[in-house]
Symmetry: C2
């Protein structure tokens, strides 16, 4: 018995916010709605305030990360696939450094947690395959190892994207992942070539460069 919310307004605001983040314009209540035809109150009806908008932006970041993971082709080599996923993770963070910062800014809430878990699941699946195909010891926990891989990727890229280290630091990911997986039972030479292949595959730029 009342007006219904127009979902288009919500997505419009989120995408405009993501765009402003990308071009490094400060996102304020008024600057966000300027030119959109909607008024400042829209932010409150759809997000409950600026905090809600940031939370929605965080989820959008994870959604885009999941979309990027989706484009990583899986192969018969799960170790290669894991490396490709981590490399894709790094690329995504470098392509959207400000959005990436928002993703890990401030406190996580329940919705954000689920979004993060969904992306983590990609890594878990690859590691489960690696274990079940005998590349890793039978007693490894894919989730624990996925978290460790995540920590490696996040540590590297957050020190590079918004931190003090130069971008070539990311190359360390190869040896770090290799060492991690060898420690979990993979054969040394085989592991190194798998990781290097997966890494190379996701790194060359060009794919959806102008996305935003």
């Amino acid at each position: 018995m009342a007006r219904t919310k127009d979902p288009a307004v919500r997505t419009l605001l989120i995408e405009r916010a993501a765009h402003m983040l990308r071009v490094r314009e400060p996102i304020t209540l008024r600057s966000l709605v300027a030119g959109t035809g909607v008024s400042t109150m829209a932010v409150y009806t759809y997000f409950g305030g600026m905090d809600g908008l940031w939370k929605a932006l965080r989820q959008e970041g994870f959604t885009r990360l999941a979309a990027r993971f989706e484009t990583v082709p899986m192969s018969a080599d799960p170790v290669r696939d894991l490396a490709a996923l981590v490399a894709a993770y790094l690329r995504n963070a470098l392509d959207h450094p400000d959005l990436y910062r928002v993703m890990f800014d401030a406190s996580f809430e329940l919705e954000d947690l689920k979004a993060a878990d969904a992306t983590l699941e990609y890594l878990v699946q690859a590691l489960r395959r690696a274990r079940d195909t005998g590349r890793l010891r039978a007693e490894v926990d894919p989730l624990e190892l996925a978290i460790q891989s995540w920590a490696i990727g996040h540590g590297l890229v957050s020190l590079v994207a918004n931190g003090p280290l130069p971008s070539h630091t990311l190359d360390h990911g190869v040896s770090m992942l290799t060492a991690l997986l060898i420690g979990e039972g993979d054969q040394a030479d085989r592991c190194r070539t798998s990781v290097e292949r997966g890494w190379q595959q996701s790194l060359p730029p060009g794919e959806e460069a102008g996305a935003e």
Copy 2:
């Protein structure tokens, strides 16, 4: 031929800001100077504005981290020492999570870089000893390996302190460091016991708990 700046005011403001950060009070220009007897202009004369204050806070964070590293006793086992340093790094971040976030927030500037390098040097020294005493291969670059250790520590703790993961995730640091160092030439069993010893040493809480 003019009034001289009182250094006490500067340190007073920094310590008050660090305290407000610790007790999670929002730091604003006015709330910072409230009750100190100094006026808002002091922030401009000593820091050039709020941005300068945040930069000073960032350096203060690295200074405290260096002080913590200083308390980590070095032993004859450089691998153990490295693990102890990384564990101390994690503890420091958990003890001052908001200050830690400030340290890696936004853009680094020249001064911050030097402060970060100074703390990184602790890791470099330990790794250089590890290499020179034959624990690691002769051709390893201590700086590169220090950066990788830093990435592991930073990745773990930033996903825990201000992120979605529970604190027991930090325990993964042991196996991650172990795998990293074994990959660089250390003996497997020896490495594991060294890392575990160093880890345990710095982890028990209590030391300077009520600081600041």
